[in-house]
Symmetry: C2
Subunit: 108 residues, 2 copies
């Protein structure tokens, strides 16, 4: 069955939503910490525009990445695992086949 | 003579350049202070995206405003005076007619 056609039970949806939100919160926390650190060190206009460019790029990337459609979710989770925002263990409660797909995609 | 056709002597150009750069430095200093203050207070993602929107708008505005063409300079100075980044007194050494044009435009 293609990854995009996988069925999600009600309990899996709950686990998936919680994992998704946890990863998002972690990534946002890290981004806010980075922005605060860069802001403290601003010393000239180039620093300021670099901070703006950085925020533009991260916002675009985050807006695209956190796509909560069930057709996309295994891809999203695999990227979050690859990037370290989510641990495979946090998907406990999803079918084993889903978890192994995420793990396999994360290694690609 | 239209404002855009005014002649600038070498000494006036020097004074104009210094005034232009001083205003720019003041505005950038104020912007950096504002960004630092907002960054310290960031507490959620809406704050972060609001900071990004603010920086996008200010960058666009500043890029457009600081236009050092002699055809535009009296308009630029009048805006800087209106906004408080430059004092009329700092244009001392320009012809009186230029200073009075800047002052008149600044009041519009």
């Amino acid at each position: 069955m293609p990854v995009t056609d996988i069925e999600w039970s009600a309990s899996e949806k709950k686990i998936a939503r919680a994992a998704f939100e946890r990863a998002y919160e972690r990534e946002i926390e890290a981004l806010m910490a980075e922005v605060k650190a860069r802001a403290v060190d601003l010393s000239d206009i180039e620093d300021l525009w670099r901070l703006h460019d950085y925020l533009s790029a991260r916002r675009h990337e985050i807006d695209g990445k956190y796509d909560y459609r069930y057709t996309m979710l295994l891809f999203v989770f695999s990227q979050l695992v690859r990037e370290g925002w989510l641990q495979i263990d946090e998907l406990q409660g999803l079918e084993a086949s889903k978890r192994s797909k995420v793990a396999a995609l994360a290694r690609m």
